[in-house]
Symmetry: D2
Subunit: 359 residues, 4 copies
Amino acid sequence: MAGNSFGKVFKITSYGESHGKAIGVVIDGCPAGLKLNTDLIQQDLDRRRPGQSKIVTQRKESDTVHVLSGVFDGVTTGTPISMIIYNEDQKSKDYSHIADKFRPSHADYTYQAKYGVRDYRGGGRSSARETAARVAAGSVAKQLLEAEGIDVFAYVSQVGSIALQRPYHEIDRSQIENNPVRCPDSSVAQEMEALIREVRKDGDTVGGVVHGVITGCPPGLGEPAFDKLHAELAKAIMSINACKGFEYGSGFGGVTMRGSQHNDVFEKVDGKIVTRTNHSGGLQGGITNGMDIYFRAAFKPVATLMKSQQSLDQTGKKVEIEGKGRHDPCVVPRAVPIVEAMAALVIADFLLRNRLTRL
Amino acid sequence: MAGNSFGKVFKITSYGESHGKAIGVVIDGCPAGLKLNTDLIQQDLDRRRPGQSKIVTQRKESDTVHVLSGVFDGVTTGTPISMIIYNEDQKSKDYSHIADKFRPSHADYTYQAKYGVRDYRGGGRSSARETAARVAAGSVAKQLLEAEGIDVFAYVSQVGSIALQRPYHEIDRSQIENNPVRCPDSSVAQEMEALIREVRKDGDTVGGVVHGVITGCPPGLGEPAFDKLHAELAKAIMSINACKGFEYGSGFGGVTMRGSQHNDVFEKVDGKIVTRTNHSGGLQGGITNGMDIYFRAAFKPVATLMKSQQSLDQTGKKVEIEGKGRHDPCVVPRAVPIVEAMAALVIADFLLRNRLTRL
Amino acid sequence: MAGNSFGKVFKITSYGESHGKAIGVVIDGCPAGLKLNTDLIQQDLDRRRPGQSKIVTQRKESDTVHVLSGVFDGVTTGTPISMIIYNEDQKSKDYSHIADKFRPSHADYTYQAKYGVRDYRGGGRSSARETAARVAAGSVAKQLLEAEGIDVFAYVSQVGSIALQRPYHEIDRSQIENNPVRCPDSSVAQEMEALIREVRKDGDTVGGVVHGVITGCPPGLGEPAFDKLHAELAKAIMSINACKGFEYGSGFGGVTMRGSQHNDVFEKVDGKIVTRTNHSGGLQGGITNGMDIYFRAAFKPVATLMKSQQSLDQTGKKVEIEGKGRHDPCVVPRAVPIVEAMAALVIADFLLRNRLTRL
Amino acid sequence: MAGNSFGKVFKITSYGESHGKAIGVVIDGCPAGLKLNTDLIQQDLDRRRPGQSKIVTQRKESDTVHVLSGVFDGVTTGTPISMIIYNEDQKSKDYSHIADKFRPSHADYTYQAKYGVRDYRGGGRSSARETAARVAAGSVAKQLLEAEGIDVFAYVSQVGSIALQRPYHEIDRSQIENNPVRCPDSSVAQEMEALIREVRKDGDTVGGVVHGVITGCPPGLGEPAFDKLHAELAKAIMSINACKGFEYGSGFGGVTMRGSQHNDVFEKVDGKIVTRTNHSGGLQGGITNGMDIYFRAAFKPVATLMKSQQSLDQTGKKVEIEGKGRHDPCVVPRAVPIVEAMAALVIADFLLRNRLTRL
């Protein structure tokens, strides 16, 4: 009810504030018998970690994960998996100057309006630091999916106006992690990085697009009516901080097409039913047809600027917000593992839910 | 779990197939004491109804709603509100020719793959006829919201490549229902209608965009982390048949902006906290700030064509799908009340959930 | 949230008031592929139906069930199964005299206190008529369980002070339906019936006990911590109108035993692990061990008397409640199919949930 | 789905195994603005703690609670409250001898049957150590209830055959914590303690009864149909390890009463509606009427004996279970704070849910 859980079968509950003692997550519903590799969880967390490159925030956090329960002798037992990440860089004093101020386009005002009280340090619960919990849980989901031959990956396809023009099936996936932007084309990545450095120099920020891809889903995942797979995926992705838009398959581009162009013709290839085109993005009626699922997520420019801004305080008085702190000039490089995590959580959940479908 | 419920407090469960006995919905969680106007529910259903104009499907359904429970002497009692719409035009014979065929870009194949059995008549449960249940429930939600001064409306802003260029706050809302397309600009509406007639003549279909607006929300609606208001709204809208994309506020356009442009500066106007711009689309950290919520939803061209198409049957054999039946050349005119309904359900749910926030 | 749904996977939502248009239920989560026999559903409803014998209420209802969705060619499709029972004997005028009065030990006062408005006709939603919806849904669950070799049955083991002394495994199950009380021992049944007739003659009512048994459960059903099978079963049974107590296995009698007597020793018999005794009632740590589950449920005497009673009206003024209407002198004969239904719903839900346990 | 969460609005998720790193709980849904006293949480944990007296297990745990999130400057913020208790006495070696054995009437066999893998150390997740998480969460619920004038308490009313004969409203509540048994009558408590010492000397265990009382509930708490307050309470209490039976109000004793005796007549006393008797146990139709709620819970004798027992191992081979370790000869003294916690969680949940009832 209070918004901190996600999933129905593979269900996670996340907790923690930016400058509290810890961030954590409890997974209730991971099946027993999964050999869990905690190194892989840490690797995913390292991809989201602050300070990983020059173009992200320099907050000092090792983001070391500790598995507290639900795993015995390296194997999941079917009981809740609790994972915790202690906050190490809690410079609370940094935030006293904004204790009663509402930073523009942050959640300071809305949390105050909602709760009447808030942990103002670094945005408290509204901080994107909460996504570390998602990445840890998503990494467990990924390991579950891997056992089923399902693969989830994401990459940066746009920063500001610099866009990768190739479709997802023409990229070289092995290049994604080879640059700090996480764009699979090294020359476009360089342009993107240059842009990020430039806006950072201006004390400004810029938006971007992350592309997500899911391959290897068997046909039949997803539920009718309200819990269509793409609807749940939209929710999952749009719940990531700064996300403003989501489209899958033909997306907004499909609007201008005719049905006769857009329809994906079924064919039998090597004894398997496939579609000739894939404008459906692997989903028909919200249920997988076995083709790739692909989607795009739009991220707005980060709200924290290294520039002075006008605003109001809690009494409604005009105040100046100073531009200081350690923040990301562009959110998308670090959003990549978060997008993967949320997508993996959705698919893991539907994979398990699909076991309930038939007698 | 099986996907046919929506909402956490104002919770609906929908049932029914296109050519079964009835379509219906149960609302569990509507507060007691609401004076319910069933004429308004019928009015909303009439806006979604087949046969309402020349540019929509001519299936013959009066879509008359019957309220079976939860209302006494015209007032809700807090117990479940059950509403039923009997199917009147169940021409099952029309569908025998496709009993074992998979229509391209329909859910025939995916339902078969998922369930191993399906009601093939008119798409069964996957038919957009299910949305009648949503409209009925959404109309109850609207009446709840009206009592709180919250208003939800939608309109067609694009058909194929013909787009309304004005932003939502410059349209004349009273014009929306004055034309069969539901576009608030009569001259653009005429172009759209002409395009729809043209594609219909070709036996083809075309996509479109629906714009949705919610005004009058108090600050504080929405929940942190996973149940951000816009995330739930994205799910709600994307769960509508044929929807391929969702964006709110600056949306995909926000990607190319700088933070210094995108940030919405707080101001106090007439003693009330507002923002100078509204790129945030009324939401910061997933919680309402009191400004208008606005969003766009992309709809693909309808999959049913009046043209012959190649496909496969259940045995994997190549078959021809004939172009016959009664279908919409463009879904967006009838999608308008559905978008309103889903948006109203989301807001009603968060409005009630917000009662749980403080001591 | 509003209390009208039960189950997590095999989930039902019930609606309807005693004197409204209909009582109904939607099952969301019944797997596809179940051959559904509606005659069996009707048979269970007939066992709960008013007027079935001289010792139950003479309200005139055929309680005919109509299946509106989710079944195609006699087989469940995995989509919601909606079932409706129209109310035929809605003598609303009978109830005008108690419109503003609070009947003792009924829910009139508490519903008024909760909702501020209520359908006072026959208790509205609080009427035991609601249980018809449970019986219909439970009958579907039973058919699902039968396919797995699981059997659920119940019988009356006590009326007032007249108790059947034999344990459940010594009764002749085929005798249960051979008398109107549903007690498997015909001579005890006659005593019970005589007592019921006697209290009815006095215009009074009397309580009773229903015994429930579930056989054939595979080991492993139930969940740890909060959703122990017996905990969910307790909730299910205690949610039946007039139920005041629940115990399983050794129950309250186990309190005075020593651990060395109570512990059930494991043995291997015919290659199968069993326990020598079964004080555990088939459940250890809330999870089935393959032995029979058995439980007892206490029902208080029905609150509606054919005697005049003192009470208050909504203004707090003293009033007389006249003893008229058509009601049950003892609830347990009709409670038997309701207990079976609720138990079957619990087991069906856990049976499906157990599919999620292992990789 | 996997059973480790409880509550709908005031929702808790518990994790941890007996001999893992920690036991913990996340509360999602505690309203903002509650002044939280962590000393009171610790006090309740101390009442459940091992080693608190000579008649309970001597396992060495300080059970120190750490609040990790959701509280800022001593006040709840509306975000998840995470509490953790590290396990200090993890003598894993003690358990190697039973790694592949099924202890009689423990959950060893059923967990193995369910999951195919288990943490055998001290029962793993099935250990009553898990209830520490419940007590911590329940203590937060109690503080919420206290602010509303609602009081929850419990006491031991029976050990073996030694029973306190007085009804709950005639006890001296201040005496409950004055003896290690938690029976409010010191002379009965002494008899109980003597019995517990005697069975311990025999290497045996004995059952007991805990009585629970909730005072100060406003009328209107509880939901119709399935979520009747007493049904949820039954589930909550029955989910506590070793609980075999639950009754409220007249309970099993009500079975032999006539309706004319059992009905609680409404009266107006000092301008307030009350009932002359309270066989209803404060609940009519599952909804509070403002009178006291009272209930009894039966606990079986603890399964761990200090005697040698016959059993089977995982291969089905006969084995001897040695009687060693540190365990409780009788569970009820330590069950008292757990019963209070579960009852408080139920009431807190319904108190919040009741905010959703009216327009």
